[in-house]
């Protein structure tokens, strides 16, 4: 069995107890307009190009190797990729000397990944840390996620997962039996608005959430809402979610500040970032944060 992951991030200390390693899964059922990991959305490996690392016309290795002639090296010190005609054969990434062209996504076996995660075992032991699944949506690669978690539990690590929840309960429920900690995103309680901004209604998400809380009421869970300007940045939006969350045991709530760190990555994979350049107002965020904590 192999799964597709696009990053393994050691020494992650902000998401979950202790010192953790986050494994980022490829593939997500949602298409959130603000998504900060756009490279996570497709289920398969894809080409990314970072012009800042490109050494330009002194090097034409990528263009020479491209079977679809999708790359033009410019004299200004960068290259132009035609993502429409790109076959995603990944040959260019193999020859790029400066790693300006890379591949998001690699197929790996659960054993390969867990071995890599286990390298930091001594740090987990001292901090109650361990493995965190993230993505993308880890439950989308259900069998792979299960295999990873089982092996991690067997090797004595704590397990956590960050999920958007948009996978039917029947498909993902077993995964939760191997989790010590859950971060569950609830972005909006208004189904239509949810549909408009993420490409899907929130029906499956709320259903999965309720069933998960009923099935594993003792597993600590943090519900998270990223505050997105014009999507869910009103008092009412946040109060609604907060009140909903409050009715569940062992469930806390936090809001996350909207950021645009992912913008550059849209360019890398030949996409445009829709939300423009507008920042979240600091006062608005702090006000909503105080509401979320009430």
């Amino acid at each position: 069995m192999e799964g597709c992951v696009f990053n393994v991030q050691k020494y992650s200390v902000h998401d979950g107890p202790g010192i953790r390693t986050i494994v980022f899964f490829k593939g997500c059922p949602l298409r959130c307009k603000w998504c900060c990991n756009p490279e996570s959305q497709l289920t398969y490996p894809q080409i990314a190009y970072n012009a800042e690392k490109c050494i330009g016309h002194s090097c034409t290795l990528c263009a020479n190797v491209c079977p679809a002639k999708s790359i033009t090296v410019l004299t200004q010190g960068s290259a132009q990729l035609n993502y429409q005609t790109c076959l995603q054969c990944l040959s260019c990434a193999g020859v790029c000397p400066s790693k300006a062209i890379t591949v998001y996504g690699q197929y790996q076996t659960p054993a390969q990944l867990v071995n890599q995660v286990e390298e930091d075992a001594i740090f987990y032991a001292r901090s109650q840390g361990g493995l965190t699944l993230s993505g993308g949506e880890p439950t989308m690669q259900t069998e792979f996620a299960l295999a990873l978690l089982k092996e991690a539990k067997y090797r004595g690590m704590t397990t956590a997962m960050e999920t958007c929840g948009a996978i039917p309960w029947e498909q993902c429920q077993e995964i939760y039996s191997y989790l010590d900690f859950v971060y569950f995103d609830i972005k909006h309680l208004d189904s239509q608005k949810h549909q408009a901004w993420t490409g899907q209604s929130n029906d499956i998400i709320l259903d999965t959430f309720r069933k998960m809380r009923a099935a594993y009421p003792d597993t600590p869970c943090v519900v998270r809402t990223p505050i997105i300007p014009q999507f869910n940045d009103t008092e009412a939006d946040i109060m609604d979610i907060r009140n909903f969350v409050k009715s569940f045991a062992h469930t806390s709530y936090e809001v996350l500040r909207y950021h645009r760190y992912g913008t550059a990555k849209y360019g890398f994979i030949g996409r445009e970032y829709f939300l423009g350049t507008k920042d979240l107002d600091e006062d608005v965020f702090n006000h909503l944060k105080s509401i979320s904590l009430q």
Binding site: Q9, K10, Y11, S12, V13, H14, G18, I19, I55, S58, C59, L61, P97, S98, K99, E119, D120, I122, F123, A125, R126, S127, G129, L256, R257, H259
Partner: protein, 827 residues
């Protein structure tokens, strides 16, 4: 998701200072008045020590060296100007008011007249000197040392092929930075005098002991009369000398008290006088006397010799604790008073600076660096946890008074209390790089492996950057070579030449690497070049060991050493009975070398994406118009990422020098422990190293200590530690310390949660049995701003290499080096 900027307490404090806020001074007015007088000033050269030393040495030729030294110290003690700073409660300085450096002509006095111009004009770490003092150096001090200084004898003694790896034969003041020597600018490596003995017994008792031994000598035994007698006479003299010097401070304080109008200060001066008349002659009776006595010993040992900038403070929370405890119980000392006394000591310490006349010495320790490590925590001689209330007071003082002295060092072991770890983490979070951490779980084991009794091993002190000492057991004071591991890569590539030394055949002829068919052949060439350098390192050390006993003595440190007193042998002599002689070789540029070799293995032999000729061509041209090659090299595997591909190569490098040390140390009669503690040598050695196959351009600093190359450790701080575990070889007793720098962004240790994770990180480091670690917690922007506007960041303290320094006092090269160390942020 760390979106907003988090600042360290140090950064907040600097911002406050820039805004004119002086709240931090409340309750520390005295200390800040002292600091304000010297902070930001350029140190001055004080020639008195050098002058009086020379005067006395002229009079005593032909006598036994240790006795000559004691007489010189007596002459210094009688004549040197005695100063008492305004406001201070602790007195004793080796030179004029403000920041100062001393002159040690016995080291390189023969070239002082040449280098003196450089000392006042050099770009970094320069000193001021008056015209008259310059004249005295050139006309009264220097001439005597022509043909007598250690430097001169060493240059004469080294065989030609060793010398040319050490110094440029055409200009022997100029280091080669391939196999540098450190002994010509320090007569001893890092040292810790046994302060506890001085405090508990006093020099009257030590003198009595020497007198008793003297009286018991057999007048018909030629060893007794010719060796032990002058040694013991020297011990008696040096006891008299330090007591005299202290009592002169008492006189000075009395004199000032007479003139003092302010009744409070008048009483302080009278108290100072009382203390100076009592210690260090007699046992300290209270905390204040104990601190004063400690400082007299420390400063007098500075007058005695140049200990490579390093006279450490030893286990201060241990030997001061009985006095602290008793005074607190008696109600005559509060924590605030104890801190004030200690902080008077810190600011006195801060004003002594290490003056290097040789350009070599100056380049190896920038920022007027000197280290007086205060060791806290650890274990008792019985193996129990040693942490006490004083340990916490030192940490508190460090947080509340942002100062670059003392260099605080905490010993960590598996049973260190969580409170101790938490206070350490809090102090690290402050951002000035304190405390640095030593790992008992590795070091005690190592020392026992060297043959130390377990109790002595458990009682070690931090000393220097990342080194340790066992007072009364360590007996080796001899300096050691700095070996450039990267120059061996160059020599393997250029058939025994280096980029900077050009056509000269400086290494072995190991063949044209373009003809090598397999990686193993290239590796064999590297191994041969490194082995050759190790051979010359041992030749260098051999000659240094032969010469030093003829040039240096240290009666003060000898009278404080049990083994020297038992055997009646000066500490600078070789082979003191029952002593453990731990020497070093500093191997510099470890990660740069490992990364360079890994790039060659991968690109030329495994993947075959480059030919050896292309590699050499790119390096010879410093990558100009060869950016593709450089990028391939930059993206080859790098040390510090827990990547076995390169960590195995690093381990193999380690094996070469550990095996060599294991096999050949007995021939020197000492332990030679290769270690990775570059001070600032990785910058100066880097300047003399051409472009390297890891993608590093010519002249750029080498990697520091056992850290990854600049910006190469992209896999997080845990991987840096694991690469070190993977490459260190636990089965060799010869493994010396490895200095690891970790730079964290403030946001990664935010709030109590972040603090707890830092504690866990430190615990795991302890579990991994790594020797040493230090942290910089700072925002990159702050460093960039400090570089651009130094006037606004005069007080910014950063960790350099086993010590912290004011950032603005470092050279631009070293500033860049610190900025470019990978920051372990949190995504």
């Amino acid at each position: 998701m760390a979106c907003c900027k988090v600042y360290t307490p140090q950064e907040e404090y600097l911002k406050k200072l820039q805004a004119g806020n002086q709240d931090n001074r409340k309750g520390r007015e005295r200390i800040y008045r002292i600091i304000d007088r010297y902070n930001g000033t350029k140190p001055a050269i004080d020639i008195e020590r050098g002058l009086y030393f020379t005067q006395s040495m002229k009079q005593t030729e032909g006598e036994m060296l240790v006795l000559r030294w004691a007489k010189a110290l007596k002459h210094i003690a009688e004549n040197i100007t005695v100063y008492i700073d305004d406001d201070t409660l602790i007195v004793g300085r080796g030179g004029k008011l403000g920041r100062y450096g001393l002159v040690y002509p016995e080291l390189d006095g023969n070239i002082m007249d040449i280098t003196i111009k450089d000392v006042s004009e050099r770009k970094e770490s320069s000193f001021t000197i008056s015209e008259e003092d310059g004249r005295i150096i050139s006309e009264e001090i220097c001439p005597y040392w022509k043909d007598k200084s250690f430097w001169e004898d060493l240059v004469k003694a080294l065989p030609e092929e060793t010398l040319r790896l050490t110094y440029d034969p055409k200009n022997p003041v100029q280091s080669r930075h391939i196999l540098d020597e450190l002994t010509t600018y320090r007569s001893s490596i890092n040292w810790v005098p046994d302060y506890e003995k001085a405090l508990k017994r006093g020099f009257k008792s030590l003198k009595k002991e020497a007198q008793k031994k003297l009286d018991a000598l057999d007048p018909f035994n030629v060893n007794d009369t010719m060796e032990k007698k002058p040694f013991l006479e020297a011990m008696i003299l040096v006891c008299d000398a330090i007591v005299l010097w202290a009592r002169r401070h008492g006189d000075k304080a009395m004199e000032l008290a007479q003139l003092e109008q302010d009744p409070v200060r008048k009483q302080e001066l009278l108290d100072i006088a009382e203390r100076c008349y009592w210690v260090p002659e007699n046992p300290a009776r209270n905390f204040r006397e104990a601190v004063q006595s400690q400082w007299f010993v420390q400063m007098f040992s500075r007058l005695e010799q140049k200990t490579g900038a390093i006279v450490s403070n030893g286990r201060m929370d241990q030997y001061l604790y009985p006095y602290y405890q008793a005074d607190k119980a008696a109600g005559i000392l509060t924590d605030a008073q104890a801190m004030e006394i200690l902080e008077c000591l810190w600011v006195m310490m801060a004003q002594f600076t290490d003056l290097c006349f040789s350009p070599n010495g100056a380049s190896q320790q920038e920022g007027w660096a000197h280290w007086e490590a205060v060791t806290i925590g650890g274990q008792t001689r019985e193996g129990n946890d040693a942490t006490n209330e004083l340990s916490y007071l030192f940490l508190r003082s460090k947080r509340e008074l942002p100062l670059n002295y003392p260099d605080l060092a905490a010993r960590i072991h598996s049973r260190s209390p969580q409170r101790f770890l938490r206070e350490i983490a809090l102090t690290i979070k402050d951002g000035a790089g304190y405390p640095k951490l030593f790992n008992d779980e590795e070091i005690v084991l190592n020392l026992v492996g060297q043959g130390a009794p377990l109790a002595d091993a458990l009682d070690y002190s931090a000393s220097g950057c990342a080194e340790v000492r066992m007072p009364n057991r360590d007996t080796f004071t001899c300096g050691h070579p700095y070996l450039n591991l990267v120059s061996c890569v160059e020599m393997a590539l250029y058939d025994g030449q280096t980029f900077m030394t050009g056509e000269e055949q400086i290494g072995l002829k190991t063949g044209d690497p373009c003809q090598f068919a397999a990686w193993e052949e290239f590796w064999a060439a590297y191994e041969a070049q490194l082995t050759n350098l190790l051979k010359h390192a041992f030749v260098q050390e051999y000659n240094i060991m032969k010469l030093r006993p003829l040039h240096f003595a240290c009666p003060l440190n000898s009278v404080l050493h049990d083994l020297c007193m038992d055997s009646c042998i000066d500490l600078h002599q070789n082979n003191i009975p029952d002593g453990i002689d731990i020497g070093f070789i500093d191997v510099i540029g470890y990660a740069t070398a490992a990364d360079s070799l890994a790039a060659i293995k991968k690109l030329v032999f495994d993947d075959k994406t480059l030919t050896m000729a292309e590699v050499i061509d790119a390096l010879r041209n410093n990558f100009e118009d060869r950016e593709i090659v450089r990028q391939m090299m930059l993206n080859a595997p790098k040390f510090g990422n827990n990547d076995p591909y390169v960590d195995t190569i690093a381990q193999n490098i380690t094996r070469i020098y550990l095996e060599y040390a294991k096999k050949h140390s007995p021939e020197l009669g000492i332990h030679v422990d290769p270690r990775m503690v570059p001070v600032t040598g990785h910058v100066s050695l880097g300047k003399s190293t051409g472009a390297t196959p890891n993608g590093r351009i010519a002249g750029f600093p080498l990697s520091d200590g056992a850290s990854a190359s600049h910006g190469s450790d992209t896999n997080g701080p845990t991987a840096v530690l694991l690469s070190n575990v993977a490459s260190k070889l636990f089965d060799y007793r010869e493994r010396g310390s490895r200095l690891i720098n970790i730079k964290f962004t403030p946001s990664s240790i935010e709030r109590e949660e972040g603090l707890q994770k830092l504690i866990a990180f430190i615990r795991a480091w302890c579990d991994l049995k790594l020797w040493f670690i230090q942290f910089n917690v700072i925002n990159r922007e702050t460093l960039l701003a400090a570089k651009a506007e130094p006037e606004n960041y005069k007080n910014l303290i950063v960790r350099v290499a086993g010590y912290s320094a004011y950032f603005v006092e470092l050279s631009p090269d070293l500033q860049n080096d610190i900025i470019e160390r990978t920051q372990q942020a949190v995504i």
